[in-house]
């Protein structure tokens, strides 16, 4: 119901645009009316990949050009109709997306952008070399409709509008599904998304192939409308830039962005080109360039968001969040007060647990080096069900590296990681997450712009088939860490403690067999740390198996069943807290040799 209502503006816009376009009689303006939705669709295609995943593509012309040439050459050499060729162009665009995406997604950030820039330019030279400098589509006088050649150019506008509407609906559907959620998570923190069980490569490939499909189709349509195809006009840098410009100008990561950008910029550039093109031949490019520069300096996320923020601000006083919100947050956890239970770790009830439970995680002779540095060497340990293992050691001892090996961020050099007896070493993070390893991060990795619920929901997808199921799992996990009351708040506004708890909930939502906590208490004050410790203790009481890295020994001694002490990547001591804290090697590693003599024996 809500979905349909939100579609209303889009439908109204489309109908209005169609009505205006039907009233235009000048054939040049009719062409401009057609080009607006064409570039809007191309911008939407770019937005689907770059707007949602944050991987900026400077090479969307590759897909556009493939589509355009497929239609032009298909009609010339095989005498096929664009009605058939445009779907073929779409498929080729999608295939090109997979082909380009698969190797290129190994790159990140600007390396990805640079590589993407090279594809269409390389193809451009190849097409020039092949002798396709200028391809003109043959005019079919005897059966024009079958070849998509309309006497009335306004029909092209309607067709373009139909494609735009289709693309918008598709984008909307993606935006609201787990597909869209996964892409947003990737945009905000790819490593965290991967660790939360999102198969980032698979989602990115889906995004680029879908984006390529749309770009290929619209490129093919563009060839039909203009009837002439040249390498520069479909593979050129200006083409890639146009997709990016309309989307960036209008607003990134929303269906409205490319549409707004296209409606404003395309008529502007085309009109200037028509009026002054003969005297100022590059005016179109200058306009696009200026548009980009202005947008970056004034409204880095585009017009749509700027206007929306402005409108929100105006209506904000009415529904402003009360300034006492933080109180509410800190009240959330103590609402279920839990006494510290130092006896739980080494006392009654645990005597049976420790040492006799099933082994959930077993690490055998795990090693990993970076160049000459042996970051982790020959580490072995067992983690039994319902055990809390504390991993300690000086800075640089290899603790976080060990976690990175366990959750798949790093591939082990040698050794085995057995989860319930199955060797999982060398698997990708999302596979390990699915197998039951959840983790939090020393340097927190929230999805900044998503609410707590959405953040945690991303972690729940790995265990759920439907969105409803994921929402339920997320709600449960949020309740377990005591954040239910502020679940709608955006991660960017949270305190360190709340973020730590949210990361904990995100890991919990995937229902892990083993939870890896990397310095969960770092940056917390004494009372805050106690609250978080209480949450962890409650998890352990409920049967969770946990490995925790922590520097705060006071907290650790209360929390853990046993210690694993690392120094220079190797295990120096393993055992119960009392023994370990008195061990001379541990004291030496932490404090230096001269303190060993002072140690109580």
């Amino acid at each position: 119901m809500r979905g349909w209502r939100s579609l209303l503006p889009i439908l109204v816009f489309t109908v209005l645009y169609a009505a205006v376009s039907l009233s235009v009689t000048n054939s040049y303006y009719q062409l401009v009316m057609t080009l607006v939705p064409v570039w809007a669709v191309f911008g939407l295609s770019w937005n689907l990949l770059s707007g949602y995943t944050g991987l900026i593509s400077f090479g969307h012309a590759a897909f556009f050009g493939v589509g355009a040439y497929a239609v032009a050459l298909g009609q010339i050499y095989f005498d096929l109709s664009p009605w058939i060729l445009i779907p073929i162009a779409a498929m080729l665009g999608g295939a090109a997306g997979l082909l380009i995406g698969f190797p290129t997604f190994r790159l990140q950030g600007h390396y990805f952008a640079l590589a993407m820039l090279a594809y269409p330019l390389a193809i451009l030279y190849v097409f020039e070399w092949l002798g396709f400098q200028e391809i003109t589509l043959p005019i079919k006088r005897d059966n024009p409709i079958a070849y998509m050649q309309f006497a009335d150019p306004r029909l092209y506008t309607l067709l373009a509008l139909a494609m735009m509407l289709g693309t918008i609906l598709l984008t909307r559907a993606i935006e609201r599904s787990r597909f869209g959620m996964a892409l947003l998570a990737i945009k905000q923190n790819e490593a965290a998304a991967e660790a939360a069980g999102i198969n980032t490569l698979a989602w990115k490939l889906r995004a680029i192939s879908m984006s390529g499909t749309i770009a290929g189709a619209i490129g093919g349509f563009y060839a039909v409308v203009l009837l002439v195809v040249t390498p520069q006009s479909v593979f050129g840098m200006l083409v890639s830039a146009q997709a990016l410009t309309v989307a960036m100008f209008g607003g990134v990561g929303t269906v409205w962005g490319p549409v707004i950008g296209s409606v404003i910029l395309i008529p502007l550039a085309e009109t200037l080109n028509a009026e002054a093109g003969s005297r100022l031949p590059g005016i179109q490019g200058v306009i696009f360039g200026l548009a980009i520069v202005c947008v970056i300096l004034v409204a880095p996320e585009g017009l749509f968001w700027k206007v929306r923020d402005f409108l929100r601000k105006r209506s904000a006083p009415a529904m402003a969040t009360p300034p006492n919100a933080p109180d509410l947050a800190s009240a959330a956890v103590p609402a279920t007060p839990l006494p510290f239970r130092p006896e739980r770790s080494r006392g009654i009830g645990r005597g049976t647990g420790r040492g006799t439970g099933d082994v959930v995680l077993e690490v055998r002779n795990l090693s990993r080096s970076f160049g000459g540095l042996k970051a982790v060497q020959d580490v072995s340990f067992k983690l039994r069900r319902n055990e809390i293992l504390g991993i300690i050691g000086p800075n640089g001892a290899g603790k976080t590296t060990l976690f990175n090996l366990l959750n798949g961020f790093l591939r082990p050099g040698t050794g085995e990681i057995l989860l319930d007896g199955r060797d999982m070493s060398g698997r990708k993070p999302h596979e390990l997450c699915e197998a039951g390893i959840g983790r939090t991060f020393q340097i927190m990795r929230p999805f900044q712009r998503m609410s707590i619920s959405d953040n945690v929901m991303v972690g729940a997808y790995v265990r759920s088939r439907t969105d409803a199921e994921a929402r339920q799992l997320a709600a449960d996990a949020i309740a377990r860490v005591g954040l239910s009351e502020i679940a709608d708040r955006i991660a960017g506004q949270l305190t360190t403690k709340e973020l730590r708890l949210m990361e904990l909930a995100r890991a919990l939502a995937g229902q892990p067999r083993v939870l890896l906590l990397d310095e969960t208490l770092a940056g917390l004050g004494h009372d805050e740390a106690n609250e978080v410790v209480a949450v962890i203790q409650r998890l352990a009481r409920d049967g969770m198996t946990i490995a925790v890295i922590e520097h705060t020994m006071q907290a650790m001694v209360r929390l853990v069943d046993s210690f694993l002490v690392l120094d220079h990547g190797a295990v120096i001591v393993e055992g119960e807290p009392e023994a370990v804290t008195r061990d001379s090697r541990v004291i030496e590693a932490y404090l230096g040799k001269k303190w060993v003599a002072h140690a109580p024996h």
């Binding site: 640079l114 594809y119 031949p281 005016i283 200058v286 976080t400 961020f409 991060f441």
Partner: protein, 315 residues
């Protein structure tokens, strides 16, 4: 056999000479990238401006009449450097500094996206604005040296011809490179640039104005690349859109050399020049540029660590 060998040596020498100029060109970009970690898409277009600056200094501003056709072009080319350095300084001050340096902390992805897109916008304005101002007619800085050659040899019936203009270009490129290396390693400015590149935060605490260091690096890099562009223009005709082709060459060189290394960028550029000239032995000339793009892609796939500097992200 002799012919094949002669062709090979000819391509090799051409590659080395062009490579030296490419090297200088890459150093300009490498300096900016190394110090500021900013990807400047418009760098090829800055070079295009450098070419036109040298062209107009030579033809319209009297250098041709003062220094003649042999020395004149090189004087104009060397003067184009400072002209473009001022331009680079201004661009950084007005635009780039808003999305880089100490201001980036507030931006998403440390401002990388903003930088990429901003410089793309600048590139579009320069290319198309160039088309309006300079027109689409090919221009070149011709000297009598461009069409004459020194003959090396014959050794065993093989002689290699070295284009005089290219020879001098390479010498100038090496000289500039030496000067720059001295500047970076010996001078106070060079030290502040290296400090700002290494650790901007620590440099700030040591009293170095990081934003100013960035501005100097940007101006210096722009000027150097402009000189390299002028040198190229003695042999290659140019047009307002020439930057797109060269910007890929530049990034290929910088990546190959390993980011942050000035000398690395030079040898990276040299390698690209060699690859380009050698490819003419087996590929049709139209595909020369396509070959560079392919090499570029191969480099970022197989040697991205040169690019990354620090591979391991802290978790």
């Amino acid at each position: 056999m002799t012919q094949a060998l002669e062709g090979f040596l000819q391509a090799l020498s051409a590659g080395l000479l062009i490579g030296a100029v490419y090297g200088l060109m890459c150093v300009g970009l490498g300096l900016i990238f190394g110090v500021m970690r900013v990807i400047n898409f418009a760098h090829g277009d800055f070079m295009m401006l450098g070419m036109y600056a040298a062209f107009y200094l030579f033809t319209a501003l009297g250098i041709q009449t003062t220094f003649g056709n042999v020395v004149g072009p090189f004087v104009a080319i060397l003067l184009a450097g400072p002209v473009l350095a001022v331009f680079g300084y201004a661009i950084h001050l007005a635009l780039i500094s808003r999305v880089s340096g100490t201001r980036t902390s507030s931006l998403e992805g440390e401002g990388h996206y903003a930088q990429l897109i901003l410089t793309l916008g600048i590139a579009l304005i320069l290319q198309n604005g160039g088309l309006i101002v300079f027109g689409s007619v090919l221009a070149s800085i011709r000297t009598p040296l461009s069409s004459s050659a020194w003959e090396l040899g014959p050794f065993f019936d093989i002689s290699v011809f070295v284009n005089k203009a290219r020879g001098i270009d390479a010498v100038v490129a090496f000289a500039m490179m030496t000067l720059l290396t001295l500047l970076i390693t010996r001078s106070r400015i060079g030290k502040s640039l290296r400090a700002a590149a290494d650790n901007p935060t620590a440099a700030t605490y040591m009293g170095i104005d990081v934003d100013r260091a960035h501005r100097i690096a940007f101006a210096l890099g722009t000027g150097i690349t402009a000189i390299a562009g002028g040198l190229l223009a003695t042999n290659y005709p140019f047009h307002p859109f020439v930057g797109v082709d060269y910007v890929i060459v530049m990034y290929a060189g910088v990546v190959l050399g390993g980011m942050g290394s000035i000398i690395g960028a030079f040898w990276g550029g040299m390698t690209i020049g060699l690859v380009q000239q050698m490819s003419t032995l087996i590929l049709p000339t139209q595909l020369q540029n396509a070959a560079i793009f392919v090499v570029f892609l191969l480099i970022i796939f197989f040697r991205p660590q040169g690019f990354f500097g620090r591979m391991v992200e802290r978790t």
